[in-house]
Symmetry: C2
């Protein structure tokens, strides 16, 4: 279609991980939580469905969810908005801060959606390589840009930048800085306590990972009220479905349940890293619910494919063929994975 | 925030109708369906919740919903995408076809979201007044633009442009033409049969009105596969929650149930129009699930406010103070409305 904007025609869309339809896969490719959400979330949804109608529009600003957020995170409702997954919120931040010709800077490699969103806005993505220790690149800290993004913990590496470095970034940046904390519950600390002191900070969170609710599509964006007011102008009126709001409310009430699952995943992670290192993999130091591995400079496609044949899905990025990203599942799932990896590697050797 | 794009800072966001939290309102202000969705939708959702986990991501392209759409509307899956309400789909169409400096034309008055979406893209909204008979403005048909939008039936007027005029518009337009058919199930004919012959046609539909599922946020966009491929690049990976997909599937299976509610609403509409005309209102000829009324040049704010005091919500647009838009509810709700309107008007006279 010649009427399609050139920026879109030239762009490749973001390709999400596989979501197989057949049952029976051990799914370690899209960083879902292997544990179900609190049973009270499901109970509450069933109760709601039994007594209320879906014929009415949902609350435009997810007010009851924001009340729960205030109780847990301590930020009044004007400081937070709720989105259809944090992807919607990332989208809105790009639309509000990055226009044609603007520069969006972020350390790289990272979530490749940022590139897609920048190109869609006809902004220039400025991808600044992480140093080997995955600390913040100095060039990123001092970069002059219209918007900076830091995925922390980072995907696909799992690495984490300590709060002191984030604070330094905020201090040295005169532009908005979005910290994408999709995985932060698996890491030491969130940037949220910095928010009151840094009006250029925005923090995105999600219930998809630590709260086991990827299916509900719920994200939160924390920012100063005058910033959020601008972002809200660009939001769809009814962006979060009634059932997602109901589920999110109860999930937040059940935060202890979620944090127990987080603790289990962190413990499994430590053990899995040790086992993979024994097999000769380099495992990037992970503070997320996944690990990134490589084995020298070997193309790991064979491993991805052989695991898939055995009904274990891990993430292989064609643009980074020497790496696999592997979600931390249950202990039982990881036993099967590790056993298969050993067999495959010994078979090749 | 000085870093907010000027286009956003200057913009006013779209303001949705009130969603009161207290119970007991007769809610005739946001064109929701007064009848609940098929009970099988709720049953299916409860069954799903009892047996499946929300921890996994939903299908990125809502494939099972698209299979049902193919059965009902006859378009294979490459011809349709599913959105988080039709608002998300409108958003995507603007982002793909309207860049900075482009022109987006539409007859006016209409859904004011189109203006917001154009300004967000730094495109120029070209608002062409409907003639008194609400036929298509000749200037709109021949307009040179980058994107044309026709809301049909139109909101807030309820008026409807027959298919022959839509076909003429498509023939005379060299740009994409989006027909927003949110209300089309209450009207004589959809533009969908024109799709195979006009590659510049896009049709947006929703389950919010005729299917009584505003709470689920489900919209469909029909277009030629090569057009949809471009639009999909800009879509969030997981834009429709698992529960919304499950509900939409079953709602489509229960289309006969929805169409019975549509028939009831159309019959109520005829009666309400006659009664309002008896009260001295001019009622615009409606093919939607609402009516737009005026009474000479009188500012109708008093009527809106007095109805609200009586717990009846109708839509008053501050920019069009001589009009009220009133959703068609159940017969019982409309009896109460008509009775109150008579009392209020006689009280004033």
């Amino acid at each position: 279609m010649s009427f399609v904007r050139e920026a879109v025609r030239k762009m490749e869309g973001y390709i999400p991980g596989e979501q197989p339809q057949e049952e029976g896969y051990i799914k370690l490719n899209t960083n879902e939580n292997p544990y179900p959400p609190s049973p009270r979330v499901v109970e509450r949804l069933i109760e709601f469905l039994s007594h209320s109608s879906l014929a009415l529009y949902p609350q435009p600003l997810s007010d009851r969810v924001r009340e729960k957020i205030e109780k847990i995170y301590g930020f009044p409702r004007e400081w937070v908005m709720v989105g259809n997954g944090s992807d919607e919120l990332l989208n809105l931040v790009f639309r509000v801060f990055a226009g044609k010709g603007d520069v969006v800077a972020y350390p790289f490699p990272t979530y490749t959606l940022y590139r897609t969103l920048a190109l869609l806005q006809e902004a220039t993505p400025w991808e600044i390589l992480f140093p080997d220790d995955f600390s913040l690149p100095g060039e990123f800290v001092t970069a002059r840009a219209n918007l900076k993004i830091l995925c922390n913990p980072n995907s696909p590496t799992g690495t984490y930048v300590p709060l002191g470095e984030v604070e330094n970034l905020l201090r040295r940046s005169s532009c908005p800085v979005l910290v994408d904390e999709a995985y932060v519950d698996f890491a030491p600390e969130s940037a949220l306590p910095l928010l009151s002191r840094f009006p250029n900070l925005l923090v995105a969170r999600t219930l998809s990972k630590s709260f086991s609710l990827a299916g509900l599509r719920i994200g939160f964006l924390f920012a100063h009220p005058e910033v959020l007011r601008e972002i809200l102008k660009a939001k769809d009126s009814y962006n979060v479905s009634t059932l997602s709001q109901i589920g999110a409310e109860m999930a937040l009430e059940e935060i202890e349940y979620a944090m127990k699952n987080v603790a289990k995943i962190k413990s499994t992670r430590s053990w899995v890293i040790r086992e993979m290192e024994k097999m000769g993999f380099y495992v990037y130091p992970s503070q997320a619910n996944f690990v990134l591995v490589r084995r020298g400079g070997q193309d790991l496609r064979f491993l991805y494919e052989e695991l898939k044949r055995r009904k274990i899905l891990v993430r292989y990025f064609p643009e980074w063929p020497e790496y696999l990203r592997i979600t931390i599942g249950t202990d039982a799932q990881m036993e099967i994975l590790l056993h298969s990896m050993r067999e495959i590697i010994e078979g090749v050797a």
